[in-house]
Amino acid sequence: MSANPKDAAVKALEVSLAKGCKAARISLNITTQCSYSVRNDKLDRLQQSKGSSLFIQLFVDDRYGSFSTNRTDPEEVVNFIGKGIEATRFLTPDPCRTLPDKSLYYTGGGVDLKQYDRSIENIEPKQKLDIAFGCASEVLGKDKRVITVNSEYGDSDDYFYMIDSQGFEDESLESNFTLSAECSVKGRGDARPEAWWYESTLFFNNLKINGCGTKSLERALNRLNPKKLKSGKYNMVVENTASSRLISPIISALNGASIQQNNSFLKGKLGNQIFSPNFTLFDNAHLVGAAGARYFDGEGVATKPMKIVENGTINTYFINTYHSRKLGLPVTIEGPSVLNCFMEDTSSAGIDKNLEYILSKCGTGIFVTGFNGGNSNSSTGDFSLGIEGFFFENGRISHPIKEMNVTGNIITLWNNIIEIGTDPRNSSRWLIPTLAFESVDFNGI
């Protein structure tokens, strides 16, 4: 890698064009990370690394090849690109493979999205270690049922640079700080229920250092003595730590590749009201200080805040240049950046719809705190997921549950939404709050 890391990408672009590419896009990623893991009262693992990769996309005679290497010695990059071009020429031409329309590029001028904390370079190893030890100490000696606790402090620094042969050039820098704790406790018989908690932020000073270990212990103890319920239809409340899992099938089904391959339960649904009119899904791509906020996607196309689903109606698919040409649809964006969802319900405007409020509103049902495996069918939207969580009655948590599944269809599920909270966790890129659905099939005894 040269002194200015961008030089390797610029050189790769020059070489690609000089060797006969009609167009090319080069991306460079440099990541530095470290982590300190503590088990009980001693340092368990120490890890540190720095890595870089060049991603090279070549458009050769209407053909397309995608290549990557972490060997950035100039001579090796030249040879690698030469072989890549040679390989690409064996493919069948696909005229839909082009760079985007230049008018769609992000051209700069946006406010600082506050994705990078320069203090990352100045945090001393001892401070990091103290944080990890402090987290574990919140658990050790606090309950005789504790078997073990693992805590980990980690930080990373990601640099991204992209340049293409149409003149797009931009870069981004992101820092990330995480603290996690995982606690195992002695349960009934041979069972050793475990639970975790984590905090994650872009800025070190925002990292919640206190309470992470305690939270993991509370969650583990809450799992003791679970019971299996009878199969049946129940209200389902999904904690904000797990609710993204119910959005993922929708995002996958809106992807241009799924639409083009006729493998999406939302194909042909653009502009139609498919979900409950209470459900709106929003991509807040320019939310300052939110993890995942960005001005351009992987093609350089400018992002913008947009309602993906509005009052239950599908407003957009995620269409990149290739799928735009394949489907005859306009380019939108490759994928979402910062997802939010909310209820278009003026009667509850201003109400803090947190977990307590939602459990109380639902009365009785199953509170899901995590999903254990499972999957969904991309063609039909049918899903079946293992769950972790609790039975609740009269708005109060009653007891933990075990060995249960939830099964249904994503479209039906999202038509049965009865509440969307206002409490997303800021620790994740998808800011999905607590959700509540009615009449959901659970499988137990």
């Binding site: 340092l43 368990d44 120490l46 890890q47 540190q48 690394s49 720095k50 890595g51 870089s52 090849g65 995608s66 290549f67 990557s68 290497t69 972490n70 060997r71 690698f80 890549g84 390989a87 690409t88 064996f90 493919l91 069948t92 031409p93 696909d94 493979r97 078997i147 073990t148 195992s184 349960g187 041979d190 069972a191 050793r192 475990e194 299996k228 199969s231 391959q261 006729n262 493998n263 194909k267 394949k326 254990n372 495996g373 499972g374 999957n375 969904s376 069918n377 063609s379 039909t380 049918d382 079946s384 997921l385 972790e388 075990k402 060995e403 249960m404 599944n405 099964t407 499988n443 137990g444």
Partner: protein, 473 residues
């Protein structure tokens, strides 16, 4: 197999450099250190919309330094194998320890091992033009097999990793690790209803992997799997007897017991099987093996990623838990020998106890007799993914397709259900084992902190009771 001096030259190191790096790694008093050099090149070729129109190649190069101090680990890696950068990594890893160095390097020994995946025709000698006809043939066969086929996605992936390993015991080892897979996904449409299915095969092998027979096998399987879904339903859920068909039902072993037998979880006393060593945990008819020695198998290792030769490990022998799956750390803790299960995704990761090919040996029953013994239950034989909670023991796996069993006969096709159970209970609830054990050679990967290629297998078995996902009528 590449010779060590050639691989050392490729990575730009000599024996003296390796010794020096280990000395630095142990300069703060660590007990053990190893160096893991890797050069991997992977290639992909894809067919979509009837054309072979996307290709990719990816190079990953670097080395990792690991230092053990008791059961503590220091780890650092670098992508630049200059002496200066490697020394920096060794110094970082050394910081896990804090006592005077007591290290004296023994003589260098070259590891002797059997080669479980000899390559006849290396991938690097075969350009895209040699692979393309197989994808085109696969596409044509899938379309020929059923008029309802609407789209086909097919992919050939191959990779070759060259590994140089050296440790503070003076052990020096080199390996060429090939991997190949052929995958097909088929979308079918019937009266406005759309279904999708996938099939794959994967082996540690060279270009000889690609044959017309392989193409036939994958084409037939993906079409059969997809077509069967049109008549399938999500059944009523609840507790039912489950007959797990031979082969890919090995996912039950992987999730329900395999992870819980990995010795890191047991060493930390967080596995539900932590107190079960040497005890009877299931019927005597059951023996479960984790095997790194099956020729060309996706999970095989000539030696693992901490220099321990590939071997076959009985985890359960005649119903008794006889061995955990060890890396060097856990083997030291249990005062036993490592079992060759210390594996890692790449030089970017430290090794952990991981499975290889996990399977159950044959029993005495016939599958047809097992099915006919079930009055009401389900039969499952096609899965996509699974997961387990090690401490609670709850495991799940997702069933893509199967059948209802009614009065001892396979009847209504079923699909898209999750099955959940508890590991020790499910193992104890296996009441019949068939005589048809086979290894499933699909593209299985295990995602415990990092990805590793694995495989699994099983004879058909009857589990008395598991919780089936489904919809209430």
């Amino acid at each position: 197999m590449i010779e060590s001096h050639k691989l050392m030259a490729f990575f730009g190191v000599c024996e003296e450099d390796l010794r020096r790096l280990v000395e630095i790694a142990l300069s703060n008093g660590g007990d053990y250190a190893d160096l893991y050099f890797e050069y991997s090149i992977s290639n992909e070729l894809a067919l979509r919309d009837g054309e072979v129109n996307a290709a990719g190649s990816h190079i990953d190069y670097g080395m990792g330094v690991r230092v053990l101090f008791g059961d503590q680990t220091g780890y650092a890696y670098t992508e630049i194998t200059t002496i200066e950068e490697m020394e920096k990594a060794a110094k970082v890893a050394s910081r896990i320890a804090s006592s005077p160095s007591k290290y004296k390097l023994p003589n260098v020994n070259k590891l002797k091992f059997a080669n479980f995946y000899p390559v006849i025709c290396p991938w690097e000698e075969n350009p895209i033009s040699n692979k393309t006809p197989y994808l085109q043939e696969l596409n044509a066969k899938i379309f020929d097999l059923d008029k309802r086929v609407n789209k086909v996605l097919a992919r050939i992936s191959d990779s070759t990793s060259q590994i140089l390993f050296f440790n503070s015991e003076g052990l020096l080892a080199c390996d060429d690790r090939p991997m190949a897979s052929l995958t097909a996904t088929c979308i079918m449409e019937n009266n406005g209803k759309v279904e999708n299915g996938s099939s794959s095969r994967s082996f540690r092998t060279g270009f000889e992997f690609l044959t017309h027979e392989l193409v036939d096998e994958v084409a037939n399987e993906v079409v059969h799997r997809t077509a069967s879904l049109f008549d399938a339903i999500q059944p009523s859920g609840g507790e039912l007897p489950v007959v797990m068909g031979a082969g890919s039902s090995g996912i039950l072993l992987h999730e329900a017991i395999g992870h819980a037998f990995e010795a890191d979880f047991n060493r930390l006393n967080t596995s539900i099987f932590a107190d079960k060593f040497g005890k009877k945990i299931c019927t005597e008819e059951i023996s479960v093996i984790d095997d790194g020695t099956i020729p060309w198998n996706r999970g095989s290792v000539n030696f693992d990623d901490e220099g321990v030769v590939g071997q076959k490990t009985y985890m359960v022998k005649n119903g008794v838990l006889t061995s955990y799956l060890h890396d060097r750390i856990s083997a030291n803790y249990y005062k036993t020998k490592p079992t060759g299960n210390g594996r890692r995704e790449s030089f970017r990761f430290m090794p952990l106890p991981r499975m290889r090919a996990t399977y159950m040996e044959n029993g005495k029953s016939r599958e047809s007799d097992i099915i006919s013994s079930v009055k009401r239950g389900i039969y499952v034989d096609n899965f996509s993914n699974g997961q387990v909670q090690i401490g609670a023991g709850d495991f799940t796996f997702y069933v893509k397709s199967g059948f209802l069993i009614e009065n001892g006969k396979l009847t209504q096709p079923i699909k898209d259900i999750n099955i959940i159970g508890n590991g020790p209970q499910a193992l104890a609830d296996i009441v019949a084992v068939a005589d048809n054990s086979i290894i499933d050679n699909g593209t299985w990967s295990c995602g415990k902190e990092q990805y590793c290629p694995v495989s699994c297998g099983m004879p058909s078995v009857l589990v008395k009771k598991l919780t089936i996902g489904g919809v209430q009528n």
